[in-house]
């Protein structure tokens, strides 16, 4: 990257000129470009042509709008050993994110405005310019019984309602929440899971779980919940046109088929997929470490890691315990296909940091979750490099895609990804030709629970600017 002049402190207004391969989904354009940032404002964006563009390729320096994460857990209040808002924001910036939406499964849950205010205050105190948005709980204490203070939470700025970590078990509560939140213009962000089908489950039901003797989490445990939620949405939306359903961390081909059908029927349903469900598959629990797309055979079926020499690590690594569980390579391929065809609107990290105490235990007793906000772009770029998804579409799913899910409530918080002259710069600069090694020291998150520890990832984040201010600038 040329034109870099000064190293800058986090939070400072930035003045810098960056050149590289710019991808701007808001303008529907990508190509060689030069961006001149002065005192935090994107003063000039010049699309370079001819000789001026020489040496600038899509595989070199990448410039994109700052990423938007619809789904992250920063554990504050209540579990600050695992993460705080401040450490989570540092991790987000390291991952290229300039907007994060935090899930309300804290202790106490974010089911009333005072808790939401505490989270917002912690964000302000951190000094990070990364935008913090908050999902309020759907029900009191996320217990699934009575509606949380939805109206007050909306007034306090909640951008979505979710009982994430758990589904909204009760169909009547889900129905009422969709209607009530719909009138407020706030989406329900549902974690689709039928708990009766997944009780005690440890890994996705199928070949790998069977061989390893892990209790199966069937595909139907998610697909059934997705179908139910969409059916309820169809019912509610007739009376409440503002009702909106967002299904988070969708992980199976069957679920995505339901979403695809719901969208085709014109229903206001959206969904996201996680980087780990795109890049990893259940064979990682057996000790494989190849990308999910590398685990697919010529016949469109997953390969057998026990016979093709793919098992390179010890089995039962608890950094792979996550909910929904890592799925078959076929399901991972379906997630990637859904990303390409637009069925999946966004890539959301489900960043779920945990302490060593909660993870260095028996596989089935380990807490669910992967610390993933810093490795998300590395996995996504690997998928791009494999040819599985076009670069522009991947960037869209990290920027304008999630912004559309947030809709006007996101805009009210300043979420408007795009490289626009005259506005505060909000962007990420990534060196796609460089590698970094994922390590406990390299991660800003307190959560070191990632199966990528020790692995080289292609794509180094060089600069992150949020709202004109430096969020991450190691150079």
């Amino acid at each position: 990257m040329s034109g870099m002049t000064t190293a800058a402190a986090v939070g400072a207004l930035i003045t810098r000129t960056v050149r590289g391969w710019a991808v701007d989904p808001a303008a529907g354009r990508e190509g060689a470009a030069e961006l001149e940032i002065v005192d935090g404002l994107l003063r000039r964006l010049t699309w370079l042509e001819g000789a001026a563009a020489d040496g600038i390729t899509a595989g070199g320096t990448l410039i994109a709008p700052g990423f938007v994460d619809l789904h992250a857990h920063f554990r504050e209040p209540g579990n600050e050993d695992a993460e705080t808002v401040a450490t989570g924001l540092a991790a987000a910036a390291h991952g290229g994110f300039t907007t994060v939406c935090l899930m309300p499964n804290t202790t106490p849950a974010i089911d009333e405005p005072s808790v939401l205010a505490a989270v917002t205050a912690a964000a302000a105190a951190s000094g990070s310019p990364v935008r913090v948005l908050v999902h309020g709980a759907v029900t009191h204490g996320r217990k699934g019984e009575t509606l949380a203070a939805l109206g007050e939470l909306a007034d306090a700025g909640a951008v979505g309602f979710s009982d994430d970590g758990a589904p909204v078990r009760s169909a009547p509560i889900l129905r009422n929440a969709l209607a009530y939140a719909g009138a407020l213009g706030v989406p329900i962000v549902d974690h689709p899971e039928d708990p009766a089908l997944t009780e005690g489950a440890e890994a996705s039901e199928g070949y790998v779980a069977t061989v390893l003797g892990l209790r199966g989490w069937p595909v139907a445990g998610e697909a059934g919940a997705v179908a139910r939620a969409i059916a309820i949405l169809a019912d509610v939306v007739r009376d409440v046109p503002g009702a909106r359903l967002h299904l988070t961390h969708v992980s199976t081909a069957a679920s995505l088929d339901h979403v695809r059908a719901g969208k085709a029927a014109g229903l206001p349903v959206t969904c996201d997929v996680t980087p780990h469900h795109l890049g990893f598959s259940d064979e990682w629990i057996a000790g494989a470490r190849r990308w999910a797309w590398e685990a697919m055979g010529e016949d469109g079926r997953a390969r057998d890691p026990w016979t093709d020499g793919a098992l390179v690590a010890p089995p039962f690594d608890t950094s792979l315990r996550v909910n929904p569980p890592l799925r078959s390579a076929e399901d991972a391929a379906a997630c990637l296909a859904a990303l390409v065809d637009g069925t999946a609107d966004a890539i959301a990290t489900d960043h779920a940091p945990h302490t060593e105490v909660d993870k260095h235990v028996e596989f089935g007793w380990a807490s669910n979750g992967i610390s993933g906000i810093e490795t998300a772009i590395g996995i996504v770029l690997a998928a791009v490099e494999s040819g599985g998804v076009p670069l522009a579409r991947a960037i869209e799913a990290l920027t304008t895609g999630p912004a559309r899910v947030l809709g006007v409530r996101g805009e009210r918080h300043g979420v408007a990804p795009g490289l626009r002259e005259g506005e505060p710069a909000d962007l990420v600069v990534i060196d796609r030709a460089a590698d970094w090694t994922v390590s406990a020291d390299a991660l800003c998150s307190k959560g070191k629970n990632t199966p990528l520890l020790g692995r080289e990832l292609r794509g180094v984040v060089r600069l992150v600017v949020a709202g004109g201010r430096v969020a991450y600038a190691p150079d």
Partner: protein
Amino acid sequence: MTAQADRPDAAPSGSVGWHHRHLLDVDGLTRPDLELVMKTADEMSEILARPIPKVPALRGTSVTILFYEASTRTRVSFEVAAKNLSADVVNIAAASSAVSKGESLVDTVRTIEALGADMLVMRHPASGAPYLAAEVFGGSVLNGGDGWHAHPSQALLDLYTLRSRLPGGSLEGRKVVILGDVLHSRVARSNIWTLTAMGADLWLCGPSTLLRGFEAWAARGAAGRRFTVTSDVRAALRDADVVMALRIQKERMASGLLPSLREYAARYGLTTERLRAARPDVVVMHPGPMNEGVEIAADVAVDPRSVITAQVTNGVAVRMALLYLLSGTKSGEGA
């Protein structure tokens, strides 16, 4: 793992040729590994036939037996095996230790090591737990059964028992049927690896609720590792050389996997009449403990064709062999 060429005479006695520091699973054992265990178990059987069945092979070696699940058969078998080799044995039942106070497995294993254990035999209700123990334990870990995942010593004693009973001592092409609750069975899972490695024509049979996932395994297994999954007990037992019945637990009714024990016994119970479909010299096995009258009729359990008590006796020889082989690998490579 791919089955390698048979090398019956390659390995001399002792731990020469044995490269696994731990025995956590059987999926990584090659056919020569299996042959070496069998050959060593033969030597141990000779020792057991002596008036005083005791040798000093593991004198000065401390073996800790850590069981987080109730067990008589396996725990005592390991204890007798270790004592026959003159090892010092410490028994820890999880309920009577700090485990019940919430101590983590990692801390427990570190404590056991600090107390001088060289080898750790463990049973645990969570699949994969021995891998966690092996990650922190400086000596050798021997899996005495983990969750639904693996029961290596049981599969090896089953193999040993079959080789002594089948004509020619070979499983090649022999029809072996595992009948019953395959889904929850670590014995079945470990036997899938060892029996297919030795060339058996393996069939898994039971109600379809108790076979879930195994079709996927059978379909994915590569050439030479294939087996057949069926709910048709007649097809499974037809001309079988070996039938291994698995325990049916009462909890399976509560979770809706079976209508009733009566219906199971009527449809899948191993009875004399049902056994007529098998070969006349069929070998009947059961890893124990048995529910007589449910998965196996009382008269079948004591039929001359039953090797159930031989399985118990052979268990000591095979576990002696395993302790002995692993004792020579303390600073060797990982399993």
